[in-house]
């Protein structure tokens, strides 16, 4: 691998999907540049040309070649810089990890979105569904330190950034994740102790302000 690698992330500070990419690169010890996109003001030409299909962040540009979709980007990072491995080498264990990545991708952010986008009865239901999903993930975690087992891995990387939005869900939903899912809370704290994670994840209060702003923009109060 040449020493002059160009690794650029088209980024948005509050996006959990962008945080995944940064954590993966941090875990691999790969240096990168990140360029903040103004998602409310106007997306850059580079973003629109690098991701014409979805026009979304994150985009990873590796030596100028673009990649989109955060889980796919993390997979690419894992394969391009093999050490330390983020996925098990056994095909069955790898498939299980990918199953839970897919589950988390399909369920968590949308369920959280249903909380901050709603009021009243709909909000109560959204809360219940969200807690159910976390309980399901708690079962998967079991007594392990991480979803990867003893080692922090792919599933942890996909999941932990989503928790930066939890304070916002808790405040708008009137609940605490810790009261319902203590094991999951413990896992969050464990992940945040890793420097590779902590430096990629913004302050929850800042995210809460962002979500409050999104609520206003969506006309919810």
């Amino acid at each position: 691998m040449s020493s002059k690698e160009e690794v650029l992330i088209l980024d948005f500070w509050g996006s959990p999907f962008c945080m995944r990419v940064k954590i993966a690169l941090n875990e691999k010890g790969v240096g990168y540049e990140s360029r903040e996109e103004n998602l409310f003001g106007g997306k850059s030409e580079l973003l629109l040309s690098s991701n014409p299909i979805y026009q979304k962040v994150p985009v990873l540009l590796h030596n100028g070649k673009p990649l989109s979709e955060s889980s796919i980007i993390v997979d690419y990072i894992n394969e391009t810089w093999p050490s330390p491995p983020l996925l098990p080498s056994c095909p069955y264990e790898k498939a299980q990890a990918k199953f839970w990545v897919d589950f988390i991708d399909k369920k968590v952010f949308e369920a959280g979105g249903n909380i901050w986008r709603s009021n009243g009865e709909a909000l109560e239901q959204a809360k219940q569904e969200f807690i159910e999903i976390l309980k399901q993930l708690e079962e998967v975690l079991g007594d392990s330190d991480f979803f990867g087992g003893k080692a922090f891995g792919f599933v942890d990387i996909i999941a932990i950034p989503l928790t930066s939005w939890f304070l916002a869900y808790e405040k708008f939903g009137g609940f605490k994740v810790e009261d319902h899912c203590p094991k999951f809370s413990a896992w969050i704290k464990r992940c945040l102790q890793r420097d590779t994670v902590a430096k990629a994840i913004p302050d929850s209060e800042k995210v809460y302000e962002l979500v409050a702003q999104l609520r206003k923009m969506n006309g919810i109060e």
Partner: protein, 219 residues
Amino acid sequence: MAGEVVLLDFWASMFGMRVRVALAEKGVKYEYKEEDLRNKSPLLLQMNPIHKKIPVLIHNGKPICESLIIVQYIDEVWHDRAPLLPSDPYQRAQARFWADFIDKKMYDSGRKVWTTKGDEQEAGKKEFLDNLKTLEAELGDKPYFGGDRFGFADIALVGFYCWFHAYETFGNFSVEAECPKLIAWAKRCMEKESVSKSLPDQKKVYEFVAQMRKNFGVE
């Protein structure tokens, strides 16, 4: 590597077809078990408790769920023949991107075409054709999505081909008129035995969809 391989599937499922094609490409013998989706077997519910959906691959008694994950698993276990994904990480990421696009877009937009009427159906049709045109543009002049070799993105999409006749009839349009290169690609894929033996006859699919439309009261 060898061992017992069982596939829980439903004959008309384009997701199940992905797994059939992958197993056929690798020359893997397996037991096919047809599920009645209105009356799911205890085995299915036990093997896929989270989603309760087909396809499920059961290899030596252990289940793998989600069709694209199953196809990647098959590629890794039977890695000594007919590679389904490229070896270069960037090209693998591209293949995964397009398979993911197909997963996100094709089923829902196609479903709108046969389950709705009027304005809603017109919107569904437009969305469906826009998605096909995007895929056709990506294919370009290549024989397959990955280039010269039949692979992951082709496997992700090809099962939808046997549903085109149903979509076209109920939506009143022609895929060939709108996306001729994509039809040429589909026919190229159908020349492969792994594909032609894995896809049901499009007339059977049409009859199945017609019956579902009656059941849902769309007519």
